[in-house]
């Protein structure tokens, strides 16, 4: 099976391409590269395990917690 989408999908897609000044495009590329670089940083758990894990992060005390203060929840849905 081809990895490419069917031709009908390609023809029917609405391409959201912005044509702007070269400076704008450079800025966008910089931001894109930054986002990709950040995404490549393993989570603390992944770094500890040595592999990518589907386990859910709950909180990170170093974003606000200490010896005497509870952590600030960073995933925040049900904790």
């Amino acid at each position: 099976m081809s990895a490419l989408p069917p031709k009908a999908d390609i023809q029917g897609r609405v391409w959201n391409v912005r044509h702007g000044p070269i400076a704008d495009i450079s800025a966008q590329l910089f931001i894109l590269n930054f986002v990709v670089a950040v995404a490549a940083v393993a989570s603390p758990l992944e770094a500890a395990l040595g592999y990518a894990s589907n386990v859910e992060m709950v909180s990170d005390p170093d974003l606000g917690g200490g010896v005497d203060s509870p952590p600030r929840c960073i995933s925040g849905d049900d904790q």
Binding site: A39, A48, N54, V55, M57
Partner: protein
Amino acid sequence: MTNVMHRFACAVAVATVTIGLAARSAGAAPPTSSTSTSTESAVLAAYEPRTGRFLYAVNQAAATRGSISVYDIGAGHRLVKTIETVRDVDDVKGIAASTATGWLYVAYRTRSGVGMIYCLNVYDDAVLWNRAIDPDIDRLAIHPSGELLYVPTWEGGSADFINVLDASTGDVVRKVYFSNRSHDTLFPLSGPLFQATKAEDESGKYLYLIDPQSYAVSRIGPYAGILGPYAVDGMSRYVVNNVTDLWGMQVADLKSGRIVTASLAEHPPGEPGLLHGIGWTPDEREVWQSSSAGDPHVYVWSMRDPMAPVLAERVSMKSRHGAHWLTFDIEGNYAYVTPNKNSDDATEIFDAHTHKSVGLIGSSEDMIEIDFADGKVSRVGDQYGVGRVVRPSTN
């Protein structure tokens, strides 16, 4: 929060924590035996291990509770000495030891319900410190460096954190918050820190993983019920879990997040309760699971496919009562199956390969192997039956 933002937050946290750790390390005093402050230790036998494999077992029978009996594993588990330690031990909760320092730690509760830890220097059997830990203690773990202890705040308590202690003094250096009624803590060979809780607010249905550098907390679950004891394989990929009201076990794949249930066919009359002891054989071919309090059997699972365990054998214990814990020697030759909590029944030794009973030692469920080479601690085992197969990463 999106995954990218989540990771960005983690990246910032890692940088912050790295600086914090460096500062803490710079200020931490190295462990030294010159900090001895207690005279409570009295060595009954002058035997000083030089070379060999020894099982340090904290006695839990009423008459000897809290003392440590030392058995020579290579000499048929011959009792070589019993170390008197501290007074007023009512309930032994856990044991840990460090190769780096040669210090052994026992968490216990007193008759008046105070959570305590004592630290024993295995080189001279002196109790270095013995102190109350606020608010309480439970089955503790130690960082491989020997510098930090991770101490849950008791399954019957309400505190929503665990304590991180300076292992040289017992001082609290940090609290990590996530769930209440923290119970069993484990630092397996490949890390990170694992923690189960008995929380009844649904958070007890998750197993927690704590990064020992950033203290970021992750969790896997929900399981079928509140978790009991568990054990982790050598690569920290698979966890086997006892689960309340499950007659069998659940296995979690930490990579995929998937949890499967391996059920046993039948259970004694009444509710299943909580099967308690569980552990991987060091070669990870099997998981042994002790039964409930009234069932004198051990269930041995074949773990050829960790996510599809197959019951291989039901092993009978000499005791007519149940078992509460089990663990193995480092080489995987022996399984130690303990009697019920604070029972006077013996701890039974099985050949881990043939599954045959080979002997009995005094009642203990808090045991750890300590090996000596030329008078120095060369390696320590674990109170848990942890997997010991460590392969190079293939990711």
